[in-house]
């Protein structure tokens, strides 16, 4: 009772950070429910991952099977359904990732599990689990509770908390693979790397936008340096395109493109209404502009009111340092 199970997510030989984030949260929850933290690992020859997550949990249930070489929702669903039926944890946490959303809802329907997605926190009140999620793109939070018997299922959002210290020492148990056969309906074929070439800024995750404040084309290398460190694509307001610093396919605004990146850094952009209309959907907006009244600050999450030529070089330098 009160056991918290966590699905370890990995891909192409890399253990994904969400796994450790969830295990950190699981430890906090299990501390209040009085249960164990158990990491579930499906893979082939991924003993190193078992070793890593063991520092964050009380047990690792490791299914080592060549059929798990690459993620396949059908295989994972079969194995996890059997596992949940056998072990009956209080709650099973899966990352709210491209893998998790492809898997969890089907598992929930198959086993008729109480299921809440994109959870940002799990409170424990009087021994009961109360997940929290958001609506309207983060403008409203919602407290939820589960009905009926466990196991409960959640997908948990990435980067909501810091990974804790690896203070635990979970025993690694290799359990027999619960996958009886290869699958019938869905076949993994291959991974394909992202295309390098002309950029479609409407698909960019991180954008650095330049505006009038950058002043001249010869200042663009400063911006390009920042964008490179951030692995960002560059776009601009009309002023930047007009000035010939960027081609028109990089213009953001009502007569340009509408973008929805995770992160939008507006440098020297005043934020005229027609520009804002093209980027208002950005998840996090940072503005650097020496004009405190620039309308861009009305939509920014973080702002620096200062000369961009003083701020950007240091920003680039510090980012390089932190990311190395």
């Amino acid at each position: 009772m009160g056991n918290v199970f966590v699905l370890t997510e990995h891909r192409q030989g890399v253990l994904r950070e969400i796994s450790l984030e969830m295990l950190t949260k699981a430890a906090a929850v299990a501390g209040k429910t009085g249960g164990e933290v158990v990491a579930v690992l499906l893979g082939s020859g991924v003993d190193a991952f078992a070793g890593k997550v063991a520092g964050y949990c009380d047990r690792v249930l490791y299914m080592d099977d060549p059929l798990f070489t690459d993620y396949n929702s059908e295989k994972y669903q079969k194995a996890l359904a059997a596992l949940l039926k056998e072990y009956k944890p209080e709650i099973f946490m899966i990352g709210h990732t491209t893998q998790g959303v492809d898997l969890a809802p089907a598992l929930a329907v198959e086993l008729k599990l109480p299921f809440i997605s994109d959870v940002i926190d799990i409170n424990v009140v009087d021994g009961k689990l109360k997940p929290v999620r958001q609506y309207y793109q983060g403008k409203v939070n919602a407290n939820f509770s589960f009905k009926g018997e466990p196991p409960y299922l959640v997908t948990f959002r990435e980067a909501t908390l810091e990974v804790g210290e690896a203070v635990k020492n979970g025993g690694i148990e290799k359990i027999p693979s619960l996958l009886q056969e290869d699958v019938a309906y869905r076949r993994f074929i291959e991974y394909v790397e992202a295309e390098v070439g002309d950029v479609d800024i409407t698909q960019s995750e991180i954008l650095v936008a330049v505006g009038r404040g950058v002043k001249e084309d010869k200042n663009m290398p400063l911006i390009e340096g920042l964008a490179a460190v951030m692995k960002a694509d560059i776009c601009g307001s009309r002023a930047a395109i007009d000035a010939g610093w960027l081609s028109h396919d990089r213009q953001v605004g009502t007569s340009g493109k509408t973008v929805k990146p995770k992160l939008y850094i507006a440098i020297g952009v005043s934020g005229a209404f027609q520009h804002l209309a093209g980027m208002k959907g950005a998840k996090t907006i940072v503005a650097i502009n020496k004009d405190p009244d620039a309308p861009i600050f009305s939509v920014a999450d973080y702002g620096i009111v200062d000369d961009l030529f003083k701020v950007v070089p240091k920003l680039t330098e510090k980012l390089k340092e932190l990311k190395s």
Binding site: F115, S117, Q134, R186, R187, Y191, K280, D301
Partner: protein, 262 residues
């Protein structure tokens, strides 16, 4: 190809001030503008492109009130053949598994090769209905698809993973695909087409018409309970960083990296 595409009417709250209403479990939507959910719009376009390439028909399915008819007609104007709107206030829309069950009831028993829907609704961000729907229908699925290649009896899809990596997956038909934004460029539905689409069938049904018992829906049938909404503590919209330029740059860099934004 028999294609179903599921669409949802959602508010555009990107610039709106969202306030919790007096019940504590809803929001004041009186000043919102509504339209088809963004990724559903891409799904509609993808359905039309497949129909244009392979022949067949596209049926639009929507769980919603009469307000959704405009958006359904717009989808029909783009090339949809007919539509089903499930109008029943008993559906507990907060529960994506229940919504999936209702949509499945509208599709089950009909011939279909593909069911397309957007990968995420912009209002609740659940990313669950499409995949749950596949399980309800007993067919394979793939979520967050950026490219669809229909072959005979099969479909090959490219799922968009973190960092721009694509996962290529092949599935037997029939199958459910949830569509990621940017997969195509949704066409414009000229007014002329929307008015002509009035002639296309838009069947409005209730749960009983779909063979669903009242006990199958409602809050009582859900295994999750929304207890209350609350506005998260937010600092005044822009956190203006303080200090000398160098300091501010460092603070910002730390926020970006430690906050997982980079």
């Amino acid at each position: 190809m028999n294609i179903f595409v599921c669409v949802k009417r959602v508010p555009d709250t990107s610039e709106a001030i969202v306030k919790v209403d007096s019940s504590g479990r809803g929001v004041d939507s009186s000043k919102f503008s509504f339209d088809i959910n963004e990724s559903d719009n891409y799904a509609v376009e993808e359905a039309m492109l497949i129909k244009e390439a392979k022949g067949g028909n596209v049926r639009v399915v929507c769980a919603g009130t009469q307000d959704a008819d405009v958006m359904i007609r717009m989808a029909l104007a783009k090339g949809g053949n007919s539509a089903i709107r499930i109008d029943d206030p008993r559906i507990n829309v907060i529960d994506p598994l229940q919504v999936a069950k209702v949509l499945a009831a509208a599709i089950k028993g009909k011939e279909f090769d593909l069911v397309l829907t957007g990968c995420m609704a912009n209002d609740d961000g659940n990313m669950a209905v499409g995949v749950a729907l596949a399980e309800e229908l007993g067919v394979p699925h793939a979520a967050m698809v950026k490219k669809v290649e229909v072959e005979t009896g099969m479909v090959k899809v490219y799922r968009e993973l973190e960092g721009g990596l694509s996962e290529v997956v092949e599935m037997e038909l029939p199958a459910v695909i949830t569509i990621q934004t940017g997969i195509n460029e949704p066409r414009y539905a000229p007014i002329r087409g929307i008015r002509e689409a009035q002639k296309k069938e838009l069947a409005v049904v209730k749960l009983e018409d779909l063979g669903l018992a009242p006990e199958a829906v409602g809050e009582g049938a859900s295994l999750i309970t929304l207890e209350n909404f609350y506005i998260p503590k937010v600092e005044s919209k822009a956190e203006i960083l303080e200090g000398e330029p160098d300091q501010k740059a460092v603070t910002l860099a730390e926020k970006l990296v430690k906050g997982g934004l980079l």
